[in-house]
Amino acid sequence: MILITRILFVGLLTALCSIAQAAGLTIEITKGSQTAVPIAVVPFAQQGAVGNVKLSDVISSDLAGSGFFKSLSEDDMLTKPSEPERVNFKDWQVLGQDYLTIGQVVGNGGSYNIQFYLYNVANGQLLMGYKLTAGANELRRAAHHISDLIYEKLTGRKGAFNTRIAYVTSAAKGNGKQYLLQIADADGFNPRTVAESPEPIMAPAWSPDGSKIAYVSFHTKRSEVYVQTLSTGHREAVSSFHGINGAPAFSPDGGSLALTLSKDGSPDIYVLNLSSRNLTRLTTGLSIDTEPNWSPDGSSIVFTSDQGGKPQLYLIPSSGGKATRLTFQGDYNARGRFSADGRSLAMVTGSGGGYRIAVMDMATHTVNVLTDGRLDDSPSFAPNGSMVLYSANKGGRSVLSVTSTDGAMQQKLAFDSGEVREPVWGP
């Protein structure tokens, strides 16, 4: 929707009304990459009212959070130019910087005109220069867009900074609890509550086009699977069978949901056609079969099964057939999630008392453990495959964490209070 040209408009795509609800969020890089590329993002010159969003901070944080870059601290900058003619590249060469971004933002009575330039510090070459216009409340989005442009220019891969995540929070409320299903920007900002319940909410799953979320709710004191349209808030119970209704996963065409149901005995994988409501059973037997996730081409479904005694990952054709075992290392491999290109599979792997996030290369079946937590769970890939979002326990609380797919960089997104679990990266 957003045209990438020399002049770029970040339009107000969805009609959202703002509501003054504050939430404290801290982003902390907990493990930095040794090989990250140094980049300096100079604070943008400001004219007019530009609100409380500091574009250079958002861009620096995005780029550093990708693991590919390390951003120069503002305190270490010798000069802070905002116009091309003011740049002295020697100032940046002595600081060991490879790249430099400068820019300006002009507040224009509710909208913002932004210009920025990206330079190669070694030879002073202008690599990129853009103007863009952002509407009210869109400054962070504009900053993420700039991060995407820089990231793609310098890495050749699409950025994932302008994407969204979904997750479930829980906190004490009165004598009970309050569970919130929220969606937010990929960096955890702009949280928006899409469902609320005094009973657990679990397993949010995005539709491929990002317009819907499927999730499990226990608000009737039994599990049910809902599909909710984000733009309208309309939701529909699509699975309310006896026993478990769990682990929904949209097919790549958005027309079906893979589910875990135990209505016929033990938990098994089923595919529910969302228009005909036809239900197809994929697995049988007495074992636990759960946590389905579709391969991006739709041909197969990965799932967790304890049919061999311990939970391991298996692959089954989505039209039904024989399951083949994928994981053989360790006692516990669960919750497989494909990357968008289908080449990698993220999972929870248990060994030595800890549960960590690992990624399997689907071609070689090599497994690489990315994290070192004790209670890491719920991995999902960024749409560009560069990062994995997961939940981790830090200081006795469940927080969201992000790791680069090589494990070199980790950061956590900590909210002020309560537990944050079940994160899933949107398309």
Partner: protein, 198 residues
Amino acid sequence: MKFNKTLLALTITAFMLAGCSSDDNESLATDTSGTDASTTSTTPLSDGGMSSTPIGSGLGTGLGSGYGSGTTPSNASNLGPEFSDPSNPLSKQIIYFELDSSQIRQDFVPVVAAHAQYLTSHPNAHVILAGHTDERGSSEYNISLGEQRGKSVERLLKSQGVSASQLEVVSYGEEKPAVAGHNESAWQMNRRVEVGYQ
């Protein structure tokens, strides 16, 4: 530049965007439409005319006051005094499990047997067997493990003559820990089935 030590403490105020539709923030609890209820496997209790009968021999005094139709599980104050007598196995309404196991431990076999005897002699009584796990591992797998624990208890109760219509299994997996904490002493309290008289 020592980036790995740099704390980007961007504690800033994030504005929450709410969708324009007022439905967006509507509580799920208020959204139970009739069609949902018809497909949910709820087993309503019989009405207030449910009369209690004295329990069988060997299980303490057979008072058995009527118990209400509230949905709060395991509210022993609504049950007969045998449920609060520590020497009576009925006072134990939580059955604990070993790690990644849904097998009933030997020490809980008499507890399940006591509930079986109570349920067979009170055919109007209805229990929800709520299965739970500790927090380790993936949450959806734990939903399945919690259900297996509930079904183990259900199977043992049925084998001792309890009618299937008196029993219902619900699994909450790791979602509702009994004890907060992230160590073995908390985990062993959380691997459980709660026998909730309705």
